[in-house]
């Protein structure tokens, strides 16, 4: 019984911490994006708008919960839960579960991906159930996105598993004593970051809700707290995946002088800021381009990266780093070429 209580308290504590971080990420997104764009961002609620997410939540609570008449009512109502629950559930695979539940996260990394793969199902269901053409297209895009990014994302961490000789996130962090995995696995990190953006439906891969094409995509018909759940899930996932990135590639809680939790927070929020920074800079890709990049570039590259690591593991790390960096450069070059070679080769210079 003691164990049960310990686990219950632990779970609630973790969820509270995660929720607070999510709220902070929401505020950070607006603030940082604002400053990238020479704006102030939220200023009115609380110090520099820190309470803005709470104000938004309060507003959402007072909004009418609408269900389109022609929608598939049951699916429409349950879809936000399908999208939201995995965002919370995913933390079962995080190292902190080990604090209160032994043997909890032995296959942590794989568990992580397994749970994360559930979230897009909610988006697809929401898109279909809404009985709205924009939502439908958004939902179908979400599925397209998942089939394109799941594989490279999975393969990008295979190398990390080889180096750590375990799928447990604690071991993965522990194996980064000499140097962070980003040094051993730069190619893996690049693919992981791109895949993570896609997994999160963040710019440049925010296709399911692409507002310039689909109004609001899969959540067009959602209002009130059901909309907020999608919103919450998105930001919770941003935090979670940044945390994963920090654990897997940036050495987790390892670092000198400062306590481990500070290091982990610093690294996590560095990744959060990077995600927002990318959002503040780049346009959105098209759905066919997304599939093409992932299948023709990222999939072979991630397979290759895994094999390079395998060679490194067998023959010693001396070959690993240069090969990985060569991979990064090639990948960057290919992506640059993709942009420049799209369309006709004939290019006219603007004459004056």
């Amino acid at each position: 019984m003691n164990g049960l209580l310990r686990i219950a308290v632990g779970v609630v504590a973790v969820v509270v911490v995660v929720m607070l971080n999510t709220v902070f990420v929401m505020w950070l997104e607006r603030k940082f994006l604002g400053h990238l764009q020479s704006r102030r961002g939220p200023m009115r609620t609380g110090y520099h708008g820190l309470l803005q997410p709470f104000a938004d939540a309060l507003k959402m609570l007072g909004k009418e919960d609408l269900v389109p008449a022609a929608a598939d009512r049951a699916l429409f109502l349950v879809a936000p839960l399908i999208a939201f629950s995995p965002a919370v559930l995913i933390h079962v695979a995080m190292p902190w579960t080990e604090w209160f539940a032994k043997t909890a996260s032995e296959i942590g990394l794989l568990m992580l991906f397994a749970v994360a793969a559930l979230s897009p199902v909610g988006v697809v269901v929401a898109g279909w159930a809404s009985h709205n053409k924009y939502s439908l297209i958004g939902g179908i895009r979400a599925a397209a996105q998942q089939v394109s990014y799941e594989v490279p994302l999975l393969l990008s961490v295979v190398g990390v598993v080889m180096l750590a000789r375990s799928m447990r996130l604690t071991d993965v962090v522990g194996a980064q004593g000499v140097a962070w995995n980003i040094v051993w696995q730069p190619l893996g990190f690049l693919i992981f970051f791109i895949g993570m953006l896609a997994e999160l439906n963040r710019v440049p891969f925010d296709l399911p809700e692409a507002e310039s094409e689909l109004v609001s995509g899969f959540n067009t018909e959602y209002s009130s707290m059901r909309f907020a759940l999608f919103f919450l899930a998105e930001y919770m996932n941003v935090f979670t995946w940044s945390l994963v990135g920090a654990l897997v590639f940036l050495g987790g809680w390892m670092g000198p002088v400062l306590p481990g939790v500070v290091w982990l927070a610093l690294k996590t929020y560095a990744l959060v800021l990077l995600i927002i920074w990318v959002r503040g800079t780049v346009p959105r890709v098209r759905v066919d381009q997304l599939l093409a990049v992932s299948w023709k570039v990222l999939l072979p590259a991630s397979l290759l990266g895994a094999m390079i690591t395998a060679v490194g593991v067998v023959f010693g790390p001396i070959v690993l780093v240069p090969l990985q960096f060569a991979g990064v450069l090639t990948l960057g070059w290919v992506i640059a070429r993709l942009g420049n070679d799209a369309g006709e080769a004939a290019r006219a210079v603007v004459r004056l």
Partner: protein
């Protein structure tokens, strides 16, 4: 009981309960004034034309099939990766052959034009 399963169940319960509570609060707080216009699908303020639930053209059907193959393969790589240091060169070659076959399949699909959104 295994603590891993307990933790999983705990998280699942909290996740669903939290989502449900959040949805349930507006029921008492929010106003309810249903109308035909609100219940109609939003299509840029116009009356929608035709039905959205049709035999919709999904351009990535074959991708989805290839996805299943590669996803299973990726999961297969994980246990291999954990024990690679024990398997050594033999394991590397074995997996190398496996991945080569897969890559060959990918190249074939690519050449066949499957990897084009249609």
């Amino acid at each position: 009981m295994d603590e891993a399963i307990l933790a999983f169940t705990g998280f699942l319960l909290v996740a669903v309960a939290l989502g449900y509570i959040l949805i349930a609060i507006p029921r008492s707080l929010a106003p309810r004034e249903p109308s035909d216009a609100k219940a109609r699908a939003y299509e840029c303020g116009e009356v929608p034309v035709g039905e959205p639930w049709v035999r919709f053209h999904v351009g990535y059907y074959i991708f989805a099939l290839a996805f299943v193959v590669f996803d299973v393969e990726a999961v297969l790589l994980f246990p291999w990766a954990v024990v690679l240091h024990k398997l050594g060169l033999v394991g590397l070659i074995q997996m190398g052959i496996f991945i080569a076959v897969l890559l060959l399949g990918l190249v074939y699909a690519w050449r066949k034009g499957v990897l084009e959104w249609s």
